[in-house]
């Protein structure tokens, strides 16, 4: 396991490094800040912005738990409670989990595949600005008292204009349509980057599991998100223009909303969890000092989950009165999907069993993930059984289940990732002691918050109630959950303190502090703007542990992998990673920001029914897009025309 730059190969001389820096470095100006297209800077912004939205959603949760600490409390009104729980769910799902994991993907995927940037750097910047504006668009509705209030899945007819007047659900539908543009753009970028920009030699059987997970997630986004967009567009049309897609009195169908929502919604659970599982497969082996056990089975699991997750949506609708046989088809898929999920768990356990464990903070969070995710998975299997599901639907048991799945399955891996890659992202080491305190507070707080909800749910407590009468046996479980929420909040605060402490006072991080095996550890901490002075040639699944890959970046590296003539990276073949040609990458520009402002104007105009404002925003967006896509003047050689 070579761990220093010297061991990995000396690399090119200073002249090459200076030329690369001149080509790739962005000016440290205010304009440079707004016009950046560097995947690392954009990735960091995704992480910070998603963390801020997580903070907002977390405070919403604390307010709700305070309200529910005892019976008949009056801290929040029913209306305020409805808005808080709706925004809590919507933000955690759409504004935190996926953008946070896409942030890690943005920072890491080009590094892991040995590229110099994402395939479409400007689209990447555009995706970030749209995400930021969509998040602000939705959160701004909270102080205005107009936040979504129909739950994160906004069932009709509760959410139609007659039952929920006002802007609440317009913010929801338009906000998610706006955000969907960002998520789709990010997904397309990940797929093309992973298929075309991999380092030479990185055939599909040498691709890191994290990259497999991001690609599978991106394909799921591409297939699932249009369905949600359609659903939201139909609801907006019903509310604003009195169409009748969901109006049963006029030939519409309320179950249409549920079908469309869950065709998106169940894959979305895996869209959230899958990259997190990829994080676990990246972090765990490093702290077990060996490669991941059963790599092909993990790849199988990733692909299988990505496909089967599209065939299980009706298990969210087991209480809607569809024919029992229909349930049977979806129950079968819901049961079978546990097999690939279980495969990964056993692969991680085997990796720990066969490895030599080194207990550091990222490893602790991975273990916390395995414990909580298995509990969430266990109750998930219970829901695959129609009879059990019908008994517990809409109770706090469901709330307990999906928090074990989503907090256990996404937040624990995200926290592991923060500690694991912080040295690479920031160039600074974190405090191990602070990190351990944070882990134990979070682990205890999380279980104290969500485990009692299983009991209150089985005792009949319905979800989404702003208060409850005393004497039903629910009081102690609710109090415990509230105490747990504050312990959990304290733990998360310690994580934030730990990150700030590392950034300000942390010791300088070496290039590869953990002895990792994937290519991001083969470059400096933090990476230079061009990522790699020499693009490596990959010879195995563990390139950093493989001396042949290290030699490929040494003094004998050929010019076709150094590429100092302008901003360039390599195209390789999709399946086998064979060298194809060098490609030029675009430079920084303000166009993505201007285009995103155009879209923001469109959605604000639509929200307030100022259609001329929306039209002006559309014109700004279209004009910017035209300028963006206008072919640059290039010589025949630059355009790739053979002589």
């Amino acid at each position: 396991m070579p761990s220093s730059t010297t061991e990995r190969g000396a690399g090119p001389g200073t002249e090459v490094v200076e030329r690369l820096t001149a080509e790739w470095a962005e000016p440290p100006t205010l304009r440079g800040w707004f016009s950046t297209v560097d995947h690392k800077r954009i990735g960091r912004r995704y992480l910070v912005t998603a963390a801020v939205f997580f903070g907002f959603a977390g405070f919403s949760a604390l307010a709700m738990r305070t309200q529910l600490a005892g019976p008949e409390a009056e801290i929040l009104s029913p209306g305020e409670y409805n808005q808080l729980f709706s925004m809590h769910g919507t933000a955690m799902i759409f504004l935190f989990s996926t953008p946070m994991l896409f942030g890690f993907g943005n920072f890491l995927v080009p590094l892991m595949v040995g590229a110099r940037d994402m395939a479409f750097p400007r689209l990447n910047a555009f995706g970030y600005w749209v995400f930021l504006f969509a998040g602000l668009f939705m959160w701004a509705s909270v102080p205005a008292g107009a936040a979504p209030n129909g739950g994160w899945f906004a069932y009709v007819p509760l959410t139609d204009e007659r039952h929920t007047p006002g802007l609440h659900l317009d913010v929801y539908t338009l906000g998610l349509l706006f955000l969907g543009i960002s998520t789709s753009a990010g997904a397309i970028n990940f797929i093309v980057t992973s298929l075309k920009l991999r380092a030479p030699g990185m055939s599909l059987n040498r691709v890191p599991v994290f990259v497999w997970a991001i690609v599978a997630t991106s394909f799921m986004v591409i297939f699932a998100l249009p369905v949600l967009n359609l659903d939201n567009a139909l609801l907006f049309l019903d509310r604003r223009f009195d169409t009748r897609f969901f109006d049963t009195d006029r030939g519409g169908n309320v179950l249409l909303w549920q079908h469309l929502f869950w065709i998106f919604g169940h894959p979305d659970v895996y869209i959230i969890v899958m990259p997190a599982l990829g994080i676990v497969s990246a972090v765990l082996p490093v702290f077990c000092r060996r490669g991941i056990v059963a790599y092909p089975l993990i790849v199988l699991s990733v692909v299988a989950i990505a496909i089967i997750s599209f065939g299980v949506w009706v298990h969210h609708m087991f209480a809607t009165g569809l024919p029992q046989l229909s349930y049977g088809f979806f129950s079968a898929a819901s049961t079978i999907i546990t097999i690939p999920s279980g495969l990964q768990i056993f692969a991680w356990l085997a990796t720990m069993l066969l490895g030599r464990i080194v207990v550091r903070v990222p490893f602790l969070f991975v273990v916390g993930f395995i414990v909580t995710f298995v509990i969430g998975g266990f109750t998930g299997v219970m829901f695959a059984l129609t009879a059990f599901d019908q008994q517990t639907t809409d109770s706090y048991f469901v709330v307990a289940h999906f928090h074990y799945v989503l907090f256990g399955g996404a937040v624990f891996p995200i926290l592991a990732a923060i500690y694991y890659w912080l040295p690479k992202i920031s160039g600074r080491m974190y405090s191990e002691r602070l990190g351990r305190y944070a882990f134990w507070l979070i682990f205890v707080g999380m279980n104290l918050t969500f485990f009692p909800m299983h009991v209150s749910g089985l005792l009949g407590m319905p979800r989404r109630v702003y208060t409850y009468p005393g004497g039903l046996g629910w009081d102690p479980w609710n109090l415990l959950a509230t105490v747990g929420a504050y312990v959990l909040g304290l733990g998360l605060l310690l994580v934030a303190v730990g990150v700030v402490h590392a950034l300000r006072r942390g010791a300088p991080a070496p290039d590869d502090p953990w002895g990792g095996d994937s290519l991001e550890w083969a470059t400096s901490s933090p990476p230079k703007p061009y990522n790699f002075p020499v693009l490596p040639r990959v010879h195995s699944l563990h390139p950093v542990w493989d001396p042949r890959t290290a030699e490929s970046t040494g003094p004998g590296a050929t010019e076709d992998r150094i590429l100092t003539d302008g901003r360039q990276t390599l195209f390789t073949s999709e399946l086998d990673g064979r060298y194809e040609r060098a490609v030029r990458m675009p430079e920084e520009t303000l166009k993505p920001l201007v285009a995103a402002i155009g879209l923001l104007t469109v959605f604000v105009g639509l929200l307030f029914a100022w259609y001329w404002v929306a039209a002006a925003g559309g014109a700004l967006f279209a004009g910017t897009l035209a300028g963006w896509l206008w072919p640059a003047h290039r010589t025949p050689e630059e355009a790739g025309v053979p002589a």
Binding site: L300, T335, R548
Partner: protein, 132 residues
């Protein structure tokens, strides 16, 4: 595996490999969509037959035909997996290692797909189509 294949053979082999990888889950997709929509739409309309064909028979077809597709894909994936297994020296031909991984993934994907189709068939055997 060093001999050069004709372009036609390479294209056919590539298509066959993709069938080995995705044939089973495509069959399951057809099964799930066909069986579910036939059952739900016919029952919703208050009928117990589809274009003069008994509903149970139509659902049986939506189970058996996709099951046959999944079995075929499973067979091809087993063959592909066995053919590529013998040629895996460390640092050997990249495409062979990649094809072996894809065949392995296909083998188990097809097995899972077949299991889901069979379980759907079992449900069709024990539940009457429009029972609510």
């Amino acid at each position: 595996m060093t001999e050069r294949l004709s372009p036609r053979a390479a294209t056919f082999g590539g298509l066959l490999l993709w069938f080995a990888v995705l044939g089973g889950v495509l069959s399951w997709t057809v099964h799930a969509l066909a069986a579910w929509s036939i059952d739900e739409l016919t029952c919703e309309a208050g009928h117990d037959e589809l274009a003069g064909f008994p509903l149970t028979g139509a659902i049986a077809l939506a189970v058996l035909l996709p099951a046959a597709g999944a079995v075929a894909a499973l067979g091809v994936s087993v063959l592909a997996w066995r053919r590529t297994r013998a040629d895996l020296p460390e640092g050997g031909e990249q495409s062979v290692g990649r094809a072996h991984l894809l065949a392995f993934v296909g083998l188990w994907l097809n097995t899972l797909a077949l299991a889901m189709i069979v379980l759907g068939g079992v449900a069709a055997l024990v539940l009457s189509p429009c029972q609510r």
